[in-house]
């Protein structure tokens, strides 16, 4: 059996890599993808802790997180598409105004 702390360490590394990608990247779509990576690192930590506690509740919570992330991805991508239609750009630097 692999030590569970390896999985927790991997989830920490993935979360931080997702955060770095979010701050380094300039286009909205890749920033959105790095948010999904951070979600996944959190899911991995949840499942590891559920395994350590011998409880299924953590897996149920991860199931809910995945479904809500699917809904969030649909709405977020729709918003990105609208921004591109209005401004013809998806660089995050070009978005300076709150008003369209």
């Amino acid at each position: 059996m692999i030590p569970l702390s390896y999985f927790l360490g991997l989830s920490i590394v993935l979360f931080v890599l997702g955060a770095v990608a979010f701050f380094v990247k300039k286009d909205l779509i890749t920033m959105f993808m790095s948010i999904e990576i951070m979600f996944n690192a959190g899911n991995l930590a949840f499942i590891t802790l559920a395994r350590a506690a011998n409880s299924l509740d953590g897996q149920v919570i991860v199931f809910f997180i995945i479904t809500v992330a699917a809904a969030e991805a649909a709405v977020g991508l729709a918003i990105i598409l609208l921004i591109f239609r209005q401004k013809k750009t998806i660089k995050s630097e070009d978005m300076r105004l709150m008003k369209g």
Binding site: L4, V13, L14, A19, A52, V62, E72
Partner: protein, 165 residues
């Protein structure tokens, strides 16, 4: 064997995310993300969560990434993005990333020793998970379905082209 699988999947995950940071093309980024999410599904399988592993691969690596690729095709930037000029932000974010790793590892260091002593028994069959989902978590389950319908209708209304204007 378990160790080999773990390190292979962990290497795939971390490597594809690092490659995603380096490569600037969005379509390649989406494909690398598919690889990372599939490897993550394998890791969930190693942790005795077969149902979550399948859900991860179907929903994340399947549905969500297909949405991403659709949007990338619709946006279709012909020239791609120009290269970034400010290099110091990269170095600053790398330094902050190292600090964040150390901070997170220190904050859960106490938890590591607890895990090693935890007794592990067999668990995680889809039958038990489904039973739990339809008894203890019935209300959250139904509310999630309403949330998904609301989000999908909202997305369609947002993107739909207005007829006047």
């Amino acid at each position: 064997m378990g160790y080999f699988l773990f390190f292979l999947l962990a290497f795939l995950c971390v490597g594809s995310v690092v490659a995603m940071i380096i490569i600037r093309d969005q379509a390649y980024n989406a494909l690398l993300l598919v690889l990372a999410f599939a490897a993550m599904g394998g890791l969930f399988g190693l942790l005795d969560a077969p149902f979550i592993a399948v859900v991860q691969i179907i929903i994340y690596a399947g549905a969500i990434l297909v949405l991403f690729i659709f949007v990338i095709m619709m946006i279709n930037l012909r020239r791609g993005l120009p290269p970034e000029k400010k290099k110091w932000t990269l170095y600053l974010s790398l330094a902050l990333a190292v600090i964040l790793v150390v901070e997170l590892a220190l904050s859960i260091k106490g938890a590591f020793s607890v895990f090693e002593s935890a007794s592990l028994e067999k668990m995680g069959s889809p039958t038990e998970l489904g039973r739990l989902l339809f008894t203890k978590y019935l209300y959250p389950f139904e509310i999630t379905s309403i949330l998904i319908i609301a989000a999908l209708v909202g997305a369609i209304v947002l993107v739909k082209k207005r007829e006047k204007e």
